[in-house]
Subunit: 110 residues, 2 copies
DNA sequence: TAATTTATACTACAATGTAGTACATATAGG
DNA sequence: CCTATATGTACTACATTGTAGTATAAATTA
C-alpha cells in the first residue's frame, strides 16, 4: 500500500536523468542527457516547468550551485532526487516493464 | 526522422495491453490486464476516454464484436493496435530503457 | 557600464489523465 | 410482451502534465 501517485512520461525521463547524474544535475545537463539517450529535444521552458512541479510535489530537491566558477552566467540550480521520487520512478518503470516484457513481435530485443 | 509524437504514460499501458491480447482486447479485459500487471485500477471511464483518443490518433483500430454469444449485455468493442501505434510504443519504451538501464542503487534488477 | 554568456523563472495554452454519470443492448423469467 | 439483470460503451467535466515562447537574472570581460 505504498504511496501511489502516478508519474507522467516526461516526469520519468527527468527523474531518471537526475538520478543518473548523482548531484550534478541542473537544467542544461538534464536536457542534454535526455537528448542523448531518449532522442528528443524538450525546450528548457518545458523542462524548468516540470522541475518546478516535481519539487513542489517533493520528488526532487534543489540547491543553488557555487557561484565562484571560472565562467560567466547565472548560478546553476542543482537537483537531487528524493526517496519518494525514486520510489515512484521505480514503481512506474516496473509497471511498464510488467506490461511490455515478453511481448512477441517486438522490434528491439525482448 | 520517424513520426515522433510522444505517448502519455497511461497511453503506453493501454497500447501494451492491446498488443498483449492480440485481437481479443476490449474495455474490461484491458482494464483487468492493467490491474494485474501494472498494479493500478483505472476507472472504465478513464480507459474509454483514452481508447477514443488513441483511435482518433489512429494508433489503434476497433470493430464491434459478434453479438451472438451465450451471455447478456451489450456487444464488445474489440481493439487492435495499428503499425503507427506499435512504432510509437516501441520508441517510448526504448527511450525509457535508455534512460533507466544501468542505474545504480536501483531497487529491482538493473 | 555595456556586451556577452549562462542559466532560471514566468505565463499561457495544448494534451493527457481521471472518474462520475448516463446510456445501450443482450438474456432470462414471469 | 415487459421489466429486471448483466454486461459494456459513450459522454462530460475537470485536474494534471506537457510544451514552448518570452522575460529576467547574474556572472565575466572589455
Amino acid at each position: 500500500m505504498e504511496s501511489n501517485k502516478n508519474l507522467g512520461e516526461f516526469e520519468m525521463l527527468v527523474l531518471a536523468a537526475i538520478l543518473r547524474q548523482g548531484g550534478d544535475a541542473y537544467g542544461v545537463s538534464i536536457k542534454q542527457d535526455i537528448e542523448a539517450r531518449a532522442d528528443r529535444s524538450p525546450s528548457l521552458g518545458a523542462l524548468y516547468a516540470t522541475l518546478a512541479r516535481l519539487e513542489k510535489k517533493q520528488l526532487v530537491r534543489s540547491t543553488m550551485g557555487e557561484a565562484t566558477k571560472e565562467r560567466g552566467g547565472r548560478a546553476k540550480r542543482l537537483y537531487t532526487i528524493e526517496p519518494l521520487g525514486q520510489r515512484l520512478l521505480e514503481q512506474s518503470i516496473l509497471a511498464l516493464r510488467n506490461m511490455t516484457d515478453g511481448l512477441v513481435s517486438w522490434r528491439f530485443g525482448v
